[in-house]
Amino acid sequence: MTAEPFLAILVGVLFATATYLMLRRSLVKLVIGLVLLSNAANLLIFATSGLTRGAPPLIPEGMLVPEGVVADPLPQALILTAIVISFGVLAFAVVLIHRAYEVVAADDLDKMKDTDT
């Protein structure tokens, strides 16, 4: 029993939830949507590159390549990098909506139309 179908469904649910939240007018829900979207993208990398359980990518002593099928470490490195980046960017986004809330005095995107056309 592989875990990939469950992970695929979870990724789909996260993308759908994130899209729904980002379409709301509230700034807070917008940021929560962005958080979920970044988690969905990270899990997508994890799911598409294939899951191998219980086989660490270790090369036995005296050999140049590992034996048999091992877990691919690269997607995990990619996800780790992406998590760090999205943590920084989302921290910025949270501060930004707080400042915007202070300046505009509303948690409503429809009240922020001054700079559109």
């Binding site: 979207l37 990619l78 910025f92 400042r99 559109d116």
Partner: protein, 504 residues
């Protein structure tokens, strides 16, 4: 070990850190910024010289060879874009010596500008798609912080849209990178280009390609994904608008060119058709949006959208001449649009407003500025003998040769409407009588002293001179662009330079 490939990334990072170290000494920060930009320009020219004589250069970071390690690759397209990054960074750094207010500098304008340049140069040079994502995030974080320097209400509102849409585009890019790794098991651009033909599920590959197209089209502000640009570009101080207009959307266009000439060339009918229609609508919606505006910088922001359409048109036509035209158009647009933003800053210093109805009489009080505006504006509209004429001629000719008459008609119509917009600014801001009356002072209270004003005029004159040189002495630019266009279509050369001669 080719050190010149990595220098354009290291120099701005070093200059930025150095500027951070002098946080309290703002005059030191300013000159570190200018000197860093000079060094970046020099490194860019060195790289271009090396690539011109030796072909595509690759540097394997940390001695790990491609496709396992991360490579930085410079071909003529990348090297030209790096030179452009340095030159525009330099002009804007000089302009901001005077134009940047103290409270903006206090929050780290100079280090952030260098970080932005590092991110842009890294995105142009990397040969790995995940690394491209990382560099795009670096430049985005710097641009987020630059956009809200000062913290006015308009900046906050613009930044919310800018940050949200650019984050969504980054996450689409990340998802596409993950899917690419799942299908091909590699993220190296040259390796991907070599393996692209081996994929079993071509529909999935096309879908991934379109995901990349959407991600980069948001960054490039192409139709129908451009709404963040006119909502935010006119809100920060003009020097920041200038560097954004010069470089940020160009990263999206560069990535589109790189992905759809090197890697995702499997379904050309589909991708080129989408790009061609997107290009046409981008030109038209941008220029029509500008026609409805009466604020100096908003008109320029909408024109940025419309000019992106020309660059994508060059990519969609997909001939050496069209790709050369797209590259020259990127250079032309950076030079001219940044110049127009800097000029709008000068007119703001003179009158204290950006609204066209409150401006006026600038031709009488500032004849030199008016001539500089005319050079930039007529070049944007594409009048000979300026740079805009040359690049539009190349694209129109490429379109006629490819028998895409529809896009040629749209391009020419857009040129005409651009001319209309520029004449509107000329008539309102420069030609009409000053609405404040006859005896009003020529300059507002914000106008800098006699010595300092040359630091504002210098970059504007330099950029106007570049626009004239690109039109009058076009031969070297043309040779470079045509060679770059040939090189973009010769993917084997790129693959061989990165993976070595024994690669398939």
């Amino acid at each position: 070990m080719r050190v010149e490939v990595v220098l354009p990334v290291i120099i701005p990072l070093l200059a930025g850190s150095l500027a951070l170290a002098f946080w309290q000494w703002r005059s030191v920060q300013r000159w570190v910024g200018v000197l860093g930009s000079i060094a970046l320009t020099g490194a860019g020219f060195w790289l271009l010289h090396a690539v011109w004589h030796e072909g595509v250069l690759a540097m394997h970071m940390g001695g790990w060879h491609a496709p396992f390690g991360i490579v930085l690759v410079a071909d003529l397209l990348s090297a030209t874009m790096v030179v452009l990054t340095g030159v525009m960074g330099l002009f804007v750094a000089i302009y901001s010596l005077v134009s940047m207010r103290g409270d903006h500098e206090r929050f780290g304008y100079h280090p952030l500008l260098q970080l932005l340049l590092a991110g842009v140069a890294g995105a142009f040079l990397t040969g790995d798609i995940f690394n491209l994502y990382v560099w795009i995030e670096v430049l985005l974080v710097a641009s987020f912080a630059l956009l809200i320097l000062g913290g006015e209400r308009a900046q906050m509102e613009g930044a919310i849209k800018y940050v949200t849409l650019n984050l969504i585009s980054s996450l689409i890019l990340l998802a596409a990178v993950g899917l690419t790794y799942g299908v091909f098991g590699t993220l190296n651009m040259a390796d991907l280009a070599a393996k692209m033909g081996e994929a079993e599920d071509t529909a999935l590959v096309t879908a991934i390609g379109v995901l990349f197209m959407v991600a980069f089209a948001i960054k490039a502000a192409a139709f129908p994904l451009f709404f963040w640009l006119p909502a935010s570009y006119h809100t920060p101080p003009v020097a920041i608008s200038g560097i954004f207009a010069a470089l940020l959307t160009k990263v999206g266009v560069y990535a589109l060119i790189r992905f759809f000439t090197l890697m995702f060339t499997e379904a050309p009918e589909l991708t080129q058709t989408i790009l061609l229609w997107g290009a046409g609508f981008t030109m038209l919606t941008g220029v029509l949006g500008a026609a409805a505006q009466f604020e100096f910088r908003r008109i320029l922001a909408f024109h940025s959208v419309s000019q992106i359409g020309y660059m994508i048109m060059g990519l969609a036509l997909y001939t050496p001449l069209a790709l050369a035209g797209a590259l020259l158009f990127i250079i032309h647009h950076s030079v001219v649009k940044t110049n127009l933003f800097l000029i709008s800053g000068l007119s703001y210093f003179a009158r204290g407003t950006h609204e066209l109805k409150d401006l006026g009489g600038l031709y009488r009080t500032h004849p030199g500025l008016s001539v500089l505006f005319l050079i930039a504006a007529l070049s944007l509209a594409g009048l000979p003998p300026l740079s805009g004429f040359l690049v539009k001629l190349m694209l129109v000719r490429a379109g006629l040769e490819a028998e895409s008459y529809g896009i040629v008609a749209v391009a020419l119509l857009t040129g005409l409407l651009t001319f209309y917009s520029m004449v509107k600014i000329w008539a309102e801001a420069f030609w009409k009588a000053d609405p404040r009356g006859e005896g009003a002072p020529a300059n507002g209270p914000a106008w800098p002293g006699r010595g300092a004003q040359w630091l504002l005029y210098g970059p504007v004159i330099g950029l106007a001179g570049l626009a004239v040189v690109m039109g009058v002495a076009a031969e070297p630019f043309l040779q470079l662009a045509l060679a770059a266009g040939e090189q973009m279509l010769d993917t084997d050369g790129y693959i061989e330079a990165v993976l070595g001669a024994e690669a398939p």
